[in-house]
Subunit: 231 residues, 2 copies
DNA sequence: TTTTACACGTGATTC
DNA sequence: TGAATCACGTGTAAA
């Protein structure tokens, strides 16, 4: 609720001050503030600018009404701001602006956090890579090339199961796919289970060429990608 | 860049108006606006309030300096707001507020969208349910109870493979888990592959009690949960 | 009482 | 020019 100005023409306080009961000023103000939608209608303002001098005296400045409208728009925006900011500490202009700033910062942080969480959701890369249906069975074997969070399990000639456990980081999964791509590795199937902040992916891949060399290099490359940098 | 007021004591424009060259008012204003950190220091304002009357005349109100500080804080907040809002259309108070409102609305929509995308990332429910390692093999079988996007495949006495294909929606995966829970179904393993906007989950479950009845009811319940409402 | 916040009218400045 | 924006000092009302 706006504080219903008394409209005592307070600015110029010279001797010949005119004190008129101008409720219409209030109405104009409330029109500008309460109905702060974009209005091209200025019928009431016209009325105000015409009625006020008639009440007793000429205004010293022609931009009086314009200034009133400007104040009205500004206050309207303050109210609109108050409407979209959930946490209002005090009903004052200054506090409203501070709260708005705080709220914007919080929102931006929230967006960043959500984007970070979403960055390595496996789905992000799927659509670039194409869909991969899950049908291969996963058979634990003994000849596992193990290092860190990467396991390479031979399934037979040219075929391997690749198991990767990783913490979600931005772009990491894409890097893994690029690494596979760089070694001309065919992805036969892909399967991922993700926890909050962690994910485990199971690839069935087909490797052409020098098996022993490629497998070792690929394993090292993937390990360097997946390993957390701090440790 | 603030518009460097000329500081001609414009308010009371009565006859005995004093026109002093008070650049210090400018400095005070810029102090309040430019250095808009929280300051308890009011040395310069004291100086201003003391020097101005000395220049020729008493101020009519002690409120003057307080009002100056208030305006300074308010403008400071305007500038701060301008700093956190990326899209500034015009360098005016009104436009700044409008842009801030627009920006807040955009941010809130962005947060909602990200939360929606993240809502059914499988990881969200994992930690409530506990971790589920992936080890069961998936064997296609013929005795599949198929309806819509839900498949129930018998693996033997009391054990089934449950395959669900669904479009990501908020809270949907949690509902599936709750449905399983309500039928006292044990989840032996769980495996999910997610595309952008879609996900396929493979459960290995153990059902106790009236197999035929539970399986049919469970299948119907899951179908009703997973099916898109519009079709 | 004083303090705080506000709206007001006005002159100046910019475009 | 005129229209728009601003800072200013002031009166007033509520805390």
């Amino acid at each position: 609720m706006p504080r219903r100005a008394r409209a005592t023409r307070g600015g110029g306080e010279d001797g010949e001050e005119v004190k008129v009961e101008e409720d219409f000023v209030d109405s104009v103000l409330n029109f500008g503030a309460g109905g702060w939608g974009e209005e091209g209608d200025d019928g009431e303002e016209q009325q105000a600018a015409a009625a006020a001098p008639a009440a007793g005296k000429e205004f010293k400045s022609k931009n009086l009404v314009a200034e009133r409208k400007r104040r009205g728009r500004l206050n309207g925006n303050i109210f609109a701001l108050r409407a979209v900011v959930p946490k209002i500490t005090k009903m004052s202009k200054e506090a409203t602006l501070s709260d708005a700033i705080e709220h914007i910062k919080n929102l931006q942080n929230e967006v960043l956090e959500l984007q970070r969480q979403l960055a390595d959701s496996p789905g992000e890369a799927w659509e670039k890579q194409g869909s991969a249906s899950c049908s291969e069975s996963f058979v634990p074997a003994e000849n596992t090339h193990y290092q860190g969070q990467v396991e390479l399990i031979s399934l037979g000639p040219c075929k391997y199961n690749l198991k990767i456990f990783w913490t979600k980081r931005a772009g990491l999964f894409t890097k893994v796919l690029e690494a596979l791509c760089s070694y001309k590795v065919q992805v036969l199937s892909l399967n991922t289970i993700s926890f909050y902040g962690y994910a485990e992916s199971f690839f069935t891949i087909e490797v052409n060429g020098e098996q022993d060399v490629v497998i070792v290099e690929l394993r090292n490359l993937l390990s360097s990608i997946v390993e957390v940098p701090s440790i």
